[in-house]
Assembly symmetry: C2
Homo-oligomer: 209 residues x 2
């Protein structure tokens, strides 16, 4: 199913809205407003109303958004109203950290397969999952029909692994390697790049002497 | 120096422009256009021209942007035209991965101090840096005049460490713990949240059966 017509930049904001709504809900709130969400996110309330209006009529003048129903709607729109199995490639320090990461719990993703090319790591168990050889990526991922992968290999292995993932049918790659992955147009890549976030912050700081 | 007047959302795009320019430069290009940058980033060329025009007159009709001078300008604007020392708190799996991360090199940030609260880790050396006790955070960071920190502790220690960092004078925290940090208004926090990126991608995917 090709989903078009909504700018990707808008899609990029929906997970932020969802996360804020869940935080408000955890704090016991029932309703919220585009103003409150905007304050939490540093986005104008007009932008939030405009973004949400692309998907339907959610808020009510005066009472604002019902958090529980807007959360359910956003989950449905984002396809996060069920759990996606995820393959993790590379169980070095970073891969291990991701395998243990608490932030995936109840947020629609679960690491189900681990792969590495290091004979010393293959066969080990991490949180109950066996580390498989990268030679098994294609067959295993095809059989399990996995569409989402996280890539935590060294930089010089990243592209070859990405190629294998694409052959296996993966359509979404979260890339931790500091390199540009070349993939076909139907495959989505997002880079985790801490420097982007650091640069954004030091804009506001007095430069060191 | 308070920097105001430019929307934060625009500031958030400048590091993306900078990264794309450096990639073009590494590929041997001399000039680029808002169209080419837009294609690389999924942002409209009109938006890019508008963002850059807030800082001055950079492009020339017909020839576009000189990559080398626009890169220098963006570095100056972002305060990344010199190196920022960075303190890393927490040297578990994730912290170790960050300490070894190749993506910081030549991108204006250098990890200069490591801290942990685990007696087994304190005193260890990682890439030539000694792991110091968290008890030394405040004194050490004040003395070294460090303003930027990365927080890679377990979730239940994150807020207390953030409080200590703020007391030590840190003004920018890159937070890897999946929790909301409460900090004073003058302190900037960016969260590394892989789920946000995963959710953004699966919007485009056919949901699993």
């Amino acid at each position: 199913m090709a989903r078009t017509g909504i700018p990707d930049i808008v899609i990029g904001r929906l997970p932020l809205y969802l996360r804020s709504l869940i935080r408000l809900q955890q704090g016991g709130a029932i309703f919220t407003s585009s103003y409150e969400l905007g304050q939490m996110l540093g986005i104008s309330s007009a932008q939030i109303r405009k973004d949400l209006s692309l998907f339907g009529e959610f808020g009510k003048q005066g009472t604002g958004y019902n958090i529980s129903s807007l959360t359910a709607e956003l989950r449905r729109i984002l396809h996060t109203d069920h759990e996606w199995p995820v393959a993790l490639i590379g169980v070095g320090d970073l891969g291990r950290a991701l395998a243990h990461y608490g932030g995936f719990v109840n947020r629609s993703f679960r690491i189900t397969h681990l792969f590495d090319n290091d004979p010393a790591k293959i066969g080990q168990h991490i949180d109950g999952l066996e580390v498989l050889s990268v030679d098994l990526i294609e067959k295993t991922i095809k059989t399990a029909n996995i569409k989402v992968a996280m890539l935590a290999t060294p930089i010089d292995e990243a592209q070859a692994v990405a190629d294998t993932l694409v052959r296996a049918g993966v359509e979404a790659i979260l890339n931790y390697a500091p390199t540009v992955l070349l993939v076909p147009e139907n495959v989505h890549v997002q880079d985790i790049d801490p420097v982007i976030h650091l640069q954004r912050m030091v804009y506001y700081l007095e430069p060191p002497a």
